[in-house]
């Protein structure tokens, strides 16, 4: 069974991002970039399926300019077998990414596509579901457990108040939530080996996709600042303030 994993290059999660002074965009000069944390969980899940003898090949795909090859190499170092970069110049929006991924799915015919539930830059939480609709594949989003069962996959999902398990006919889409697994660290020998693994580059034209623009970012601004409050000396003062000043408890 072939597994396709999508990975995105994003600002490292430890970086506190700021808006540029002119409000045109966020300031990404000289900030550390990394693989999106949810995508890392997706890679780990695919590699575990291979180690368990369920998956035969794991392909890591990323949509972006040449710099995203770095994140594809990271996925290869974590255990993916080969990589695909779909070369686009500017950041593509989720619908376009989903169309490009659909192009890759048509070429590679994977039985399972694993993606992160959202990227920590755009916070859209759309791509996996959109790919599902375009490829007419079922989806198990926000997954905390993935179990392959013959020509089906059972996905346990994080929902309001608990967990829901659905059974999907393969080929299917899975998007990862935090508790699905704990990703490994790449070892130095594997990082070296990853440099020699196959990495193909496609363009949108190769995949028959026209890159369109549905949304325009007009401006970005910092969020409204919250006033720093006071420190109370003890529990008595806290209770007094909550009762008599804030009036939120009685």
């Amino acid at each position: 069974m072939k597994v396709l994993v999508a990975v995105k290059r994003v600002v490292d999660y430890n970086v506190k991002v700021r808006a540029k002074a002119d409000g045109s965009d966020v300031d990404l000069n000289n900030v550390k970039m990394a693989i999106n944390p949810f995508c890392e969980i997706a890679v780990e899940e695919a590699v575990r399926l291979k180690e368990a003898g369920v998956a035969t090949e794991v392909i890591a795909v990323s949509i972006g300019d040449k710099s995203c090859q770095e994140q594809i190499r990271t996925a290869l170092a974590l255990g993916a077998d080969r990589g695909i970069q779909v070369d686009v110049e500017t950041a593509a929006e989720p619908l376009v990414v989903a169309k490009l991924l659909k192009g890759v799915v048509d070429k590679e015919a994977p039985q399972l596509v694993i993606l992160g539930k959202q990227s920590i830059d755009g916070d859209n939480n759309q791509t996996g579901q959109m790919l599902g609709a375009l490829a007419n594949m079922p989806q198990g989003t926000f997954a905390s457990e993935v179990v392959i069962d013959g020509d089906k996959v059972n996905v346990t999902r994080e929902v309001d108040g608990g967990l829901q398990t659905v059974s999907l006919t393969l080929p299917a889409i899975v998007t990862t939530d935090l508790r699905l697994n704990e990703p490994r660290y790449a070892s130095l020998p594997n990082i070296m080996k990853a440099k020699k693994k196959q990495l193909d580059v496609y363009t949108a034209d190769d995949l028959g996709v026209t890159v369109t623009k549905h949304l325009t970012q007009v401006k970005v601004v910092p969020p409204p600042e919250r006033q720093e409050g006071i420190k109370v000396a003890d529990v008595d003062e806290l209770v007094d303030k909550l009762k008599n000043e804030a009036k939120v408890i009685s």
Partner: protein, 309 residues
């Protein structure tokens, strides 16, 4: 111009998130209808018809929709949406599951998690965990939008008398089926709609210690939440997570216990009206957003607080 609002419900009751979404829809200035998709969900339709300012309530009541399977629900919503200019749903786990499929079926972009309507095609939404607010303009004729419910005060639940019409189309994609559900039984209010929330972080040290929050939650009728650090450490389940990758809450009172205040957590709670932080590290970033900070050992402060409220 017309707007379709997708109802959030559990087949028996209409969830408050729907009322927040109707409030956001009103700002688009178009006529509003509500679509209820579910199985044996007649009571939900009746409740939706009582929401003021709604033209009609459309009900698609079929076993294929009972468990909100995205493959089936998205096809139905996309079909009904052909008659509307805007489709709005609350950014709940359920609607986040199927709405992007709706957008893709309609070949339009989705605008996720809006917090303000600037004009019928321009919206504000948080990106980068709420570190910046982006203003985005949609070029699509039909807008598919999810709404951050805490950013819009809900409309009243009663006072309207919309007509109810049934939608007979049945879409069963045949690709997925429901297996089981494991929903924690709790007498406590839901995290996203509670007026008081008390959350624990890594400082709680283990899952057992979360019981220290129970007594206070009981007295204040509060929901109990957690930081991502506490979830990652395995103390508590993920559905308790408050933050960028968890739930977004904005209660009247938010009490953060043993939470340092990572950006990821602040993104989920900084719109709360009053924030209390209890942490033994006086330099913890949580104190920069709290109205009342108490530098104390939580294992001493919590029992004392419980006894004094």
């Amino acid at each position: 111009m017309s707007t379709l609002v997708i109802a959030e419900h559990d087949n028996s009751s209409l969830k408050a998130a729907t009322l927040n979404t109707v409030a956001a829809a009103q700002q688009l200035g178009a006529d509003i209808d509500i679509l209820v998709v579910g199985g044996s969900c007649g009571d939900v339709a009746t409740a939706a018809a009582a929401v003021p300012g709604v033209g009609k309530v459309l009900v698609a009541d079929n076993a294929a929709y009972e468990h909100q399977l995205a493959e089936n629900v998205s096809q139905l919503v996309a079909e009904v949406a052909t008659g509307y200019d805007n489709v709005l749903a609350p950014a709940t786990p359920n609607c986040k599951n199927f709405m992007p499929r709706v957008a893709a079926l309609l070949d339009v972009g989705q605008i996720s998690d809006i917090i303000a309507v600037d004009s019928p095609d321009t919206f504000q939404r948080p990106i980068y965990a709420g570190n910046v607010i982006a203003t985005v303009q949609s070029a699509d004729a039909k807008k598919v939008i999810t709404v951050r419910t805490t950013a819009f005060d809900g409309v009243p639940a009663e006072g309207g008398s919309a007509s109810v019409e049934s939608v007979d189309s049945v879409h069963d994609a045949g690709l997925s089926s429901f297996v089981s559900e494991e929903v924690a039984e709790s007498d406590r209010p839901e995290l996203t709609s509670a007026s008081v929330v008390i959350s624990g972080g890594r400082g709680m040290q283990n899952g057992e210690n979360f019981k220290l929050l129970d007594g206070i939650a009981d007295k204040l009728n509060a929901a109990i939440g957690a930081s991502r650090a506490a979830v990652d450490a395995g103390f508590v389940p993920n559905d308790m997570q408050v933050g960028q990758t968890g739930k977004i809450v904005a209660p009247d009172l938010y009490i953060a216990v043993g939470i340092s205040g990572a950006i990821q957590h602040l993104a989920g709670m900084k719109d709360s009206k009053v924030i209390v932080a209890i942490n033994k590290d006086e330099d913890a970033p949580i104190f920069q957003v709290s109205d009342y900070g108490l530098v104390a050992d939580l294992f001493e402060a919590l029992p004392e607080l419980e006894s004094k409220i």
